[in-house]
Amino acid sequence: MLFSRVRGLPVVAPDATETGVVTSLAVDVDAGTVTHLRLRGRHRRETVLPWAAVHAVEPDAVLVHAHSPGPSDAPAPPHDLLGSRVLTDTGEARGTVLDAVFDPDTGRVLAVFTTLGTLSAELLLGLGDYALVVRATG
């Protein structure tokens, strides 16, 4: 599933109450997984939902586990993958991130789409305040 496809989806608790709308996904680039969903809740409050609390990502809603504590104010990794500048570990610019694909069952990041093409997830090295760093190929 595309990161951009999840943005704007309502987050629904088991009792069918809507707790917020997904604004973005936070990733751990080392582990290659989605770690949190950033939400905008009631009164435009920013909260985060850990990936472990997600029961399922459906095409039109994100369902939360029955016994999860729900969204919290705990900080997620601060940097957004989408829109990030891309640099190789050899210091060459490689465009910017347009979108990324993840497995909605496991949260594993599968590939990153940039303005200059597709990068496989194994190439990702780090995501910081300046850039997504990827292993140089060829």
């Binding site: 190789t88 570990d89 060459e92 995501l127 910081g128």
Partner: protein
């Protein structure tokens, strides 16, 4: 063959960790006393106070010198990283404006910039030179800016850089300098 770049173009290039955080930018490049390789960078800007790198970045902490960023392994100085030697030649202070001579005393010109190889070597490949009349004849206003390869046996005496031999090979563009200097492997092992 590593990409060639001029030391002046390194100024303001961001210093970025492999984790993607920008910690500083390059203010100046520091060379060894023989003007043979980069020993480090003087830094400015971007979160200097939050990092522990201080205002100097030793070459040993550099992962790769790239076209768009100086990549470093981590925000902290790696253990055992040697500090930038205090007698290093800061580009702006010492190397720019130095006279370039042959060992027979013929003036080649004045150094305008230093050409270095990107990647992990930090090697000085040559110099961008305001050519002297002896080297490139003609009226002063038509005098040309040329690139001169450093070679292996350059010596530094005071404010002059002395090239061995009688003949000086020059080229008018950076790619030509790359052909004159010997190729070396890049960042990837």
């Amino acid at each position: 063959m590593d990409e060639l770049m001029t030391a002046r173009s390194l100024t303001t290039r961001p210093v970025v960790t492999l984790g993607g955080d920008a910690v500083a930018q390059v203010k100046d490049t520091v060379f060894d006393a023989a003007a043979g390789r980069i020993v480090g960078f003087a830094l400015s800007g971007r979160g200097l106070l939050s990092g522990s790198l201080g205002h100097r970045l030793p070459w040993s902490a550099v992962h790769c010198l790239g076209h768009d960023a100086v990549m470093i392994r981590s925000r902290r100085d790696p253990a055992g990283a040697s500090p930038v030697p205090p007698d290093g030649e800061v580009l702006r202070d010492r190397v720019l404006g130095a006279r370039l001579l042959t060992d027979s005393g013929t003036e080649v010109g004045t150094v305008l910039d230093v050409v270095v190889a990107g990647g992990r070597s930090g090697r000085v490949v040559g110099f961008r030179v305001d050519a002297s009349k002896a080297l490139v004849p003609g009226p002063r206003r038509r005098r040309r800016r040329v690139y001169v390869p450093r070679g292996e046996d350059l010596t530094v005496t005071g404010r002059a850089l002395v090239l061995p031999g009688e003949s000086v090979r020059v080229t008018e563009d950076l790619s030509g300098l790359g052909a004159l200097a010997a190729g070396r492997p890049g960042c990837t092992p």
